[in-house]
Symmetry: D2
Subunit: 337 residues, 4 copies
Amino acid sequence: MIIVTNSGITKEQWNNIWEKLESWGFQLHVIQGVEKKVIGAVGDKRKVDFHFLENIPGVEKVIPILSPYKLAAKDVKPEGTIIEIGNLKIGGGHFGLIAGPCAVESEEQLIQIARGLKDAGANGLRGGAFKPRTSPYSFQGLEKEGLLLLAKAREETGLPVITELMNLTELDLLVEYADIIQIGARNMQNFGLLKAVGRQPKPVLLKRGLAATIEEWIMAAEYIIAEGNEKVILCERGIRTFETATRNTLDLSAIPLVKSLTHLPVVVDPSHGTGKRKLVIPMAKAAIVAGADGLLIEAHPDPANAWSDGEQSLDLAEFKILVEQIQPLLELENKRL
Amino acid sequence: MIIVTNSGITKEQWNNIWEKLESWGFQLHVIQGVEKKVIGAVGDKRKVDFHFLENIPGVEKVIPILSPYKLAAKDVKPEGTIIEIGNLKIGGGHFGLIAGPCAVESEEQLIQIARGLKDAGANGLRGGAFKPRTSPYSFQGLEKEGLLLLAKAREETGLPVITELMNLTELDLLVEYADIIQIGARNMQNFGLLKAVGRQPKPVLLKRGLAATIEEWIMAAEYIIAEGNEKVILCERGIRTFETATRNTLDLSAIPLVKSLTHLPVVVDPSHGTGKRKLVIPMAKAAIVAGADGLLIEAHPDPANAWSDGEQSLDLAEFKILVEQIQPLLELENKRL
Amino acid sequence: MIIVTNSGITKEQWNNIWEKLESWGFQLHVIQGVEKKVIGAVGDKRKVDFHFLENIPGVEKVIPILSPYKLAAKDVKPEGTIIEIGNLKIGGGHFGLIAGPCAVESEEQLIQIARGLKDAGANGLRGGAFKPRTSPYSFQGLEKEGLLLLAKAREETGLPVITELMNLTELDLLVEYADIIQIGARNMQNFGLLKAVGRQPKPVLLKRGLAATIEEWIMAAEYIIAEGNEKVILCERGIRTFETATRNTLDLSAIPLVKSLTHLPVVVDPSHGTGKRKLVIPMAKAAIVAGADGLLIEAHPDPANAWSDGEQSLDLAEFKILVEQIQPLLELENKRL
Amino acid sequence: MIIVTNSGITKEQWNNIWEKLESWGFQLHVIQGVEKKVIGAVGDKRKVDFHFLENIPGVEKVIPILSPYKLAAKDVKPEGTIIEIGNLKIGGGHFGLIAGPCAVESEEQLIQIARGLKDAGANGLRGGAFKPRTSPYSFQGLEKEGLLLLAKAREETGLPVITELMNLTELDLLVEYADIIQIGARNMQNFGLLKAVGRQPKPVLLKRGLAATIEEWIMAAEYIIAEGNEKVILCERGIRTFETATRNTLDLSAIPLVKSLTHLPVVVDPSHGTGKRKLVIPMAKAAIVAGADGLLIEAHPDPANAWSDGEQSLDLAEFKILVEQIQPLLELENKRL
């Protein structure tokens, strides 16, 4: 850790900083610069709150050298983590093609699309039972009934099921019915939820927050792992920028970057990432060659009548085209569906 | 609502759209443009999910005319809402000057600063018992003990207490001990939390999310009000932008804008909004003349030794300067502390 | 064009709006909504300044239906534009692989890398002679000498040359020495420059501005085409967002989106787009399968000693790996180098 | 400057870095950290291009300690710069209230508003003769005729005139007719323009770019000063963020921050900063108490018929209200109009 002090630091302030740093067990080095004095503090700064040090009078800036995550860091497991849920594997050359409707609407809708997706090549089923909606007047999901339908679709198709957890109070239900628990973008820093899914055994798919930096996203994964659950899948789903021509800006450079920083698999959701049906296939393809370990695709038997997010959902015919177009790319990248 | 159709829309698609819109009770008007046909659909579009309509083949774009909120809208209560908590009033010419430490650290720290702030002119006490922290290794708050200390500080000073709710599981505790329940920026779209605070009687201070548009922020308030609790205070605390010289970009234009759109009082948190102690006073002053109904200020007896966010906390001497400098502005704006 | 009027519009204001719109030749339709009256104005709104109408008292909002560009629009040339510069073709299935150093530094450096790139498969040479630099104390380019060296490299290799125009005063020089004139991101809305390159015969590569929406970017192309030069290549090079882990956020979804809106070819610069050498190859691959018509790659014989942007430049060995990895993707996408 | 090396740095790479740094005259200090070795390089890093060093193999990150600007830095002139143009002074307690139409439209329009503004209290006149417009089909300004009208308005009222320079080719004209030369937001990093206005004697008002960090903005001022012209006024006019409810997000925290970093006066343009007439007065007031040295206000005799930006222009009656409301604030802040 580098501590840059103010040009006008007093002797007393300097001594105070010095004593504090020593008392925390850091080994200290001074660099007398042209205008400013800098302290190099050697030790594990993760124990000390980084921002905390900027309070001390005389300190101008504190610059961390080590990244703030430990358990999620690449060097903990350089070979990479593979998540296994029955036959579905994600990471380490295994590719997850998870598709399904934004929201579970009815048994008929769900079973129909689940069968079609399975036949077309999907190896996981997504579907929302509890839905986060901007408006209190929008459809909020079938809730427990939705979970039961997802379980039924799993029975019929063998596809493992991923669905979103919105509240602590619904955790037990989800642990019972879901195979992978999704933490949505709006809850990426809902720390109570992160801790709770860290204490249960199911794998967790952690979506990147709309305004989350890559470091904050990895730190959210660290919360889960720190509680004991190492089965975390990261999901890039677009960030919020000034551009309004797409729903979000899908940050595909996050894939190779995050994979160089952590051992966790990274999947991409081009449906939410773009918000436009016609952009889903090109972005799905791009995600694969950028190194993604899986895709999360919204698909609906009849997008024109979907109860939510139909404008970004593929119908079954389009999903088949997607599968057809990604097959040769998966081969080139040595990824197995 | 305006529905813009595609240039190449088929007769069948057109009929399909028409039937759907009629079946939802809209009155329809067609405008034949130069290149495109447009439908004006008159009726209350809040009943229908806006994005939903963009699924329908042949529809290019749906443009809402009415704002999506009803209960939070200005015209529901043009005179504006006044929140009353004992002697503290916020809104309608009453100004809330709420200050306190980022996190409650100890009885001594809290009582000391609470007394000082009260004497200096604060009429509310803020303090975190449950703390949202980016790192799982950072101090997470004193939890229930923190609430007890806040209650004690209230007893000693008479100041009503505001503190953050992070999880549904802690709601009963907060309802018992807090006077105003804060929903933090990271939970602005934690809809379960919003509904829960909508069903309890205490006023709610709703911070704007880091990446929340003004419309989304008001919709979050709508969630609370729709459950029956009209006592919502909006708090601007900075948005996330490309600029890194400040912790966030404090959007002061949101104050007059939101006050023109809703009847809810708006307060400003220049401490989180800037992240820099030296910017707190100028931004506090600016907030007042821009029309704010209150301030949320981080203050600490000894910022250099604060356990969190000390770099943006005022000490008591600085808080007194703030009070001194805002007094004439409050008078000019006809606001009463 | 849809004109939404205020709830409280007076009869006089209404009449005034009506007369104005009629005097501009619009055909008018009224839709009486639940709360507001809306006017549908049919005619070519491009003649009238859109924002201008929002001045008129009684007008709440003006919503354009047609896109503001005409000459750049897809339907002008649905088959797409192909740019030809000698043997180099870009668009319509032809792929431009343009590479070279950020800045021209010396004859030796340039000729060495140009030969290597040509042999490895590049079909265009990029290099900066006039360099836009954040600091006045940074290397600003070899200027005219740089252009002469680029011309020499073209002679030696046959590669057409692309270089950036920064000032009107240097236009004649660039027209003389360059094969493609680049307008940099910082000059995307330098309208004088846009008009000037619109009046000369060389193709123009127009980089997207750091904060430019897709519509503004296409409008900048419209400026060039409106002056008579249809040979415009659009270049996505990353936008500025809150994320600092990469230099910019490369918006690959812009490729399919822009190609659906305009007839112009789109190339991608993953070097500036990410600012990190290790992300260049994955993003180059992703750009191709997302539909790009070409790549702009920074390459340097010795990145460790580059005078600018070495941290994002490939060396020759890395460039060969890039070519190797993109070959099968180009085949899959039916693109010819 | 702090150079963080990679964990896996080789001995050869280390020696190479060391030699380079020594050859540039830096004095070197090594800090052996827990995982990484760090070099503290003492000397003036402004001479060396910061990014350049990150090219060197073995280097992970380079962290500058000194700010990159010299001539614009606060400590060069701690008392602050005062810009004088005849009677108009800006900075050092002198307040510039510069108002006028977005674009000069006609003699009648300009003289009428100029007289009204002068009488109401303005001490400077703004007006565009050359207009940067997103669309080539929008009104582009009266050009030279506009400058002649501005000169005439100055004669009639005595108000010094500020107008925007868009191209190098128009510089001589502007030097002849304008009293302050404005560099617009889109040209903030048009380095040729910056150098050119640095070599002429008139004061320069430098608007912040839509996506410019505070450091880049100050560096743009450094470009001007480095050429010999110290008379630079910085103008905050809003940055581009995800929020679309306002035209831009006015960053008022930039005022106190920039004033703590440089000796240059800072003015604010709440008209472009918000894009909404009803927000202009509150933001103008807020700017003053945040420490601004002046305001740039769009005013038009008849905003409803303005040829551009009328939706954010005040009429004369509104401008009088603005003056009335800012008067007591200027007094409180000890600023003289």
